[in-house]
Symmetry: C2
Subunit: 397 residues, 2 copies
């Protein structure tokens, strides 16, 4: 058994707020500000350029990567951090297509997060050899894995519905058809028990500002299966992926490790905050966390269905097929979510009609779930969402 959950005392959560949006931006771990202040004042301010060595800045992406590796079932040294998730998707896709030069199809699904699809479209445009992106419905992906497919790129947990792909089965099907497998773990890392090495997938990518609480714009990560690392021909061949960055050679020579998936100068301040944030995982058993997450989601579904007949469940009812979120469809979902947020229950909205609620067992318990459902019921029963102030869309929804 690991540390018992929740551990609300590790976080600074605003008074009066029930935060069900840790699937979008995780809450603030208590040590974050002190850590970055130390990084700024002592390391940057006093050590200056020397801090790249003396404060371990150059190794920080690898050290943080190793900590994330432990949360996704990957071995030490197999995860590189930095950049954004979109950039990491591009790296993985480019490497995968180069591994299957005779094939022209990228298979994803129409529930994938749009940026993953956009990056594929951009890469296809740059290569300019008529590659094709196919996006069947999530439930039709398995049947669409043919021998035309170069790479299967899927987000493990659907950002809108929370529907979870069967990682082992789809990876096996991809490999049986000779395709490379890329998993986007944006909504899985820190939310579900993962065995990325056991899946056999060639690549996994993810972000760290959701369930990993790394803060706004926290660095992304990329996993590459250790046996293929030395065959990867990086598109984004930046100097910190070079075997000897400070030799300043004119020709690119990739590092012989996962470091070849590094690109430019790492975002040290964001990495320092992320490293601090990852400490909340010390002693946590991912099986326990997953079990708690399933219980919270089941409870929320039961409470909302009993209290709010106007809402339609948009997530799988079976917790085993669901990530750590529950979504409900409601025609006036945008306004209803604004009314809910105004009452201290923070979830979010995804077009066209999805009210999305994330469950983070680190800082959400059964009491929070029931309380949130009651506020939602009040918003609906009183038509509070009809207030004009809840109708105007913000830039970020």
């Amino acid at each position: 058994m690991g540390a018992s959950l929740p551990r609300k005392e590790l976080f600074d959560i605003p008074e009066g707020v029930t935060y069900l949006d840790g699937n979008s931006l995780g809450v603030l771990p208590k040590g974050a500000a002190a850590r970055v202040t130390d990084t700024i004042e002592r390391e940057w301010g006093q050590e200056l350029i020397r801090a790249w060595n003396s404060a371990g800045w150059m190794d920080l992406p690898r050290v943080v990567g190793d900590r994330i590796a432990g949360l996704i079932g990957a071995p030490e040294g197999s995860v590189a951090t930095g950049d954004t998730l979109s950039i990491k998707v591009y790296q993985a896709l480019d490497a995968a297509l180069k591994m299957r030069p005779d094939r022209r199809v990228i298979l994803s699904d129409n529930g994938n997060f749009p940026s993953d699809l956009y990056m594929a479209q951009g890469l296809i445009g740059t290569i300019g050899k008529g590659h094709e992106l196919r996006t069947p419905a999530p439930e039709d992906v398995a049947g669409a894995i043919t021998e035309e497919v170069a790479v299967v790129m899927l987000t493990h947990v659907d950002y809108r519905t929370g529907r979870m792909h069967d990682m082992a089965a789809i990876t096996e099907a991809a490999h049986a058809a000779g395709a490379v497998m890329i998993w986007d773990l944006a909504h899985s890392a820190g939310a579900t028990a993962l065995d990325i090495a056991g899946s056999g997938a060639e690549f996994a990518v993810g972000c760290s500002y959701k369930y990993l609480n790394g803060g706004p714009g926290a660095p992304a990560f990329i996993y590459a299966r250790p046996d293929i690392v030395q065959d990867i021909d990086p598109a984004l061949s930046g100097w910190l992926g070079h075997d000897a960055p400070f030799a300043m050679e004119l020709g690119y020579r990739p590092a012989m490790s996962t470091e070849r998936l590094r690109v430019g100068t790492p975002p040290i301040l964001q990495l320092a905050v992320l490293q601090e944030a990852l400490k909340v995982w010390d002693g946590v058993d991912m099986g326990d966390l997953r079990a708690a997450s399933m219980r919270l989601g089941d409870l929320f579904i039961a409470e909302v269905e009993a209290r709010c007949p106007a809402l339609t469940l948009a997530s799988p009812r079976d917790a085993a097929q669901r990530g750590s979120q529950v979504s409900f469809a409601f025609e006036h979902g945008y306004a209803a979510m604004q009314a809910l947020i105004d009452r201290g229950v923070i979830g979010d909205f995804r077009a066209p009609d999805i009210m999305r609620f994330g469950f983070t067992p680190h800082y959400i318990d059964e009491g929070d779930v029931v309380a949130a459902a009651k506020v939602l019921q009040e918003v609906l029963d009183t038509d509070a969402w009809r207030d004009a102030k809840y109708q105007t869309k913000s830039r970020v929804t």
Copy 2:
């Protein structure tokens, strides 16, 4: 006349240190730690996901870009920020090659920072159509601009020698030959007076952790000439470059502004620090700054040549052809630089034999320059650099 320089009181500089490495990592502006603490505790901690709207996070890359635009002679709205410089080089190169589909040559020089060359090599590999990267010596670039050249990509100020290309003349030659022009301003932004719009160049890129004091891993920037922005077909087509990111459409549709050069979720903590750091430029006249920088460099050359006959000037003697650094070649430069750093004068070393000194008029004055030259003389006169402890190379040199 702008604010008088130096303004050391705006920075936290360690006692007893003369910092001549602001061309690698700028010093700490005083407000940085307080600013990021506020961003973390109040914005992230209390506002949580709402801060994307309420704290202006979504607009921060543009707001910071506008401030940088003012320092490089670019109009408002023409600079996007985020990612690393290597990524921005890739974006500019890819866009440029797409603008000249019938040409196959990327022209740079062998004094360019290696990562720029590596990114070009990576892009060439991904496109796979036989593009060629040519890297003549810096002084031979102008003569190498032929009608085969699709794009000329140069770093304005050479990272090793400080030699400065003639931006106006080379841009004009590139355009006369029908080539696209990309300037890397890594060693120019905040160091020299720039008129990037007046140059007519299509693209400029740069980083913000050197002369702009944005801190370790601070975000990069990219300028695109306003009249071509809507023709750019982004390779790195991330969701935040989409015209309507939160519409969650399946197809990429680029924003109709420079925002199309954004990629993924912006690094808010680094951007907040950078925004704070850019305040030190308020009221600074770039002509005054450039004049001060030239005086400091000239003085350092005179002092070192008088005191240290073993060193050979590796920078242009004419300040008008030099950026804001002075380099000397010395066979034992690595060890000598370590001995110098040990004595509180911080410069850096670049392979194979370059001792590099940056002059940042914000926080370096004539007294610092003379004092640094005296310490260098002492290191050489006493053979202090022969000490065994100065021979072992650190990971970062």
